[in-house]
Symmetry: C2
Subunit: 339 residues, 2 copies
């Protein structure tokens, strides 16, 4: 695949329009929660001192803004949706770090590691409620957007539950893994890509094609993330090397490798993954084994196919041209970010 493409203008443009609304939203939280949320979002350090942005790329809010524009509305019409999906995304990061026991994110201590599990849980809870409040203040279209978001959250939680359950198993099939990914990652990206159009009152066919675009993008995105989780440079991913293998996550490359049959090392990999958390040597050996099965190439091919499917969904409904091209660019950027 090609090297990292340039950052799409749409990300910067969306940040400019969404950031003030994010700040205003977080301002509504209880002061204790607000301080922790601001730390988590990278707006300040642990002493409350404003810091250079260390937050995420803002893919989900950009999708929400482009979603409104693709439906022929103004960027501003997508902003409540952008804020809501970004809040929900951060809820899931906060809770996932607790669930996975991850102590570091984006080169900083995670909220539970710094403030304790209780505050991390509670701030996450607060961000979901706030996201819904912001949508529900927008009349019937906001209620429809809130319903879209609720379904996404439910699917995301189901996917996360499967992901946890898979850690103790070595017989996870590719189909099970893809269904898990569709929930864990696809649901919120699908919702992000549709929510602006929902807020703009777009026809059902437009909303549905945007949902499909986001769902495919989600699978492609997770495939890339799973590759980085095994082979990524810790300096760039902000996570320890081999993190996914040491915790026995059944990520896409691992499941493809386990599927590859005994003669290609799947048997040895299975035995390694059966014996509790992996130490550094075991991680190195497991990485070799996964590599040897061609699972990395299979995962890259999966990412490529779903990227193509995402772009193809955009062509089918009557979407506004410029936004549509930007959505395709954004998808390519997200998928091609690291390889």
């Amino acid at each position: 695949m090609s090297t990292l493409t340039s950052v799409p203008d749409a990300l910067a443009r969306a940040r400019d329009v969404v950031h003030p609304a994010m700040v205003a939203a977080v301002e509504r939280l209880n002061p204790e929660l607000r301080r922790i949320a601001a730390y988590h979002l990278g707006w300040c350090d642990e002493n409350g001192t404003p810091s250079a942005r260390t937050g995420g790329k803002g893919v989900r809010p950009a999708l929400a803004v482009l979603s409104a524009e693709a439906a022929g509305a103004d960027a501003g019409d997508g902003v409540p949706g952008a804020v809501a999906v970004e809040l929900v995304h951060n809820f899931s990061l906060l809770h996932d770090d607790v669930i996975d026991g991850d102590r570091e994110r984006r080169h900083r201590p995670t909220v539970w590691a710094l403030y304790g599990v209780g505050p991390a849980v509670l701030v996450g809870d607060a961000l979901v409620a706030l996201g819904h409040q912001i949508l529900l203040e927008r009349g019937p279209a906001g209620a429809a957007a809130s319903e879209e978001l609720t379904d996404a959250v439910a699917a995301m939680i189901g996917g996360q539950a499967d992901d946890m359950a898979f850690e103790g198993r070595v017989d996870v099939t590719a189909a099970e893994c893809l269904a898990m990914v569709a929930g864990k990652t696809g649901a919120l990206l699908s919702c992000s890509a549709a929510i602006g159009a929902v807020l703009a009152g777009a026809p059902a066919a437009v909303v549905e094609s945007l949902r499909r675009y986001g769902a495919h993008l989600g699978v492609a995105f997770q495939a890339v993330d799973d590759i980085l989780g095994i082979w990524g440079d810790p300096e760039r991913t902000g996570k320890p090397r081999g993190n996914d293998l040491s915790t026995r996550k059944k990520s896409l490359p691992v499941v493809f490798a386990l599927d590859a049959g005994e003669r290609r090392g799947a048997g040895e990999l299975r035995r390694l993954l059966l014996n509790g958390p992996l130490d550094a040597d075991a991680v190195a050996r497991a990485t070799e084994l996964v590599d040897g099965t061609g699972a990395r190439q299979a995962t890259e091919a999966l990412a490529r196919d779903h990227l193509a499917a995402a772009c193809s969904s955009l062509e089918r409904a009557g979407l506004a041209g410029v936004a549509c091209a930007e959505l395709a660019d954004l998808a390519r950027f997200v998928v091609e970010r690291e390889f």
Copy 2:
């Protein structure tokens, strides 16, 4: 105050109509989450063996059902609201047990103690999303109910955040404590009392008087809970004796005692509460000190006043007679349950 009144018929009647809908709702969860939710709800033991009901009294679902009836609708119209508030109540129990580190509830291990923090967090998250899904399937009235619930959840989380922040302080005022209680306990009871009427499309004045009834009931309920948290019989409360004092919770009696002035022992109490978690001796001494200030009587008086205010709110709007009387009965039952 009088001794325990008989259990109102409304609780049993509501349980009969709500329980099948609760079962159907939980059935929609991911299998991993469903199993844990069923344990938490007291429907089965940790091996999945069905067990005699050990769940709560079902006050919130009963309020939701009576709320629909008080607005002149059928009990059934309140059922989605009853299910939603019961799911959200159980979300808050699951997360609060994590936050407070409580290992036991209703004489059984809490979910985090049995299954781990991750599953407890995730099941809680799933119950909130499920509650909203169930409401949002009911058209515009369901969307209004979902908004009512969202605001309640946001207020509940804010109250819980204050409650946590208060643990490290000894200068919490009665006004701050009452505002915390209004969020932590009042918001969901207020929502429960109004949500049936919202689903029934009742006039704003009816909804508002039910909200006020529930908000007052919430303060009265918490006052009783706080008394039990210090003086309650562990056999009946299902929690260790003196739990609230050992964790330095700023419950209503403690805040009243701290307010009582130095000559009545407030100074010594303040010093005890400043020095980290209290051991058994310190809890015994703190209990004596709180007792000596008359804070228990003050908290009982507060409960009585808010019970009266709750019943009085019922008289002002044009509510259906029988349901209205049952709401008043239910309030008396909840407040007079233990003293």
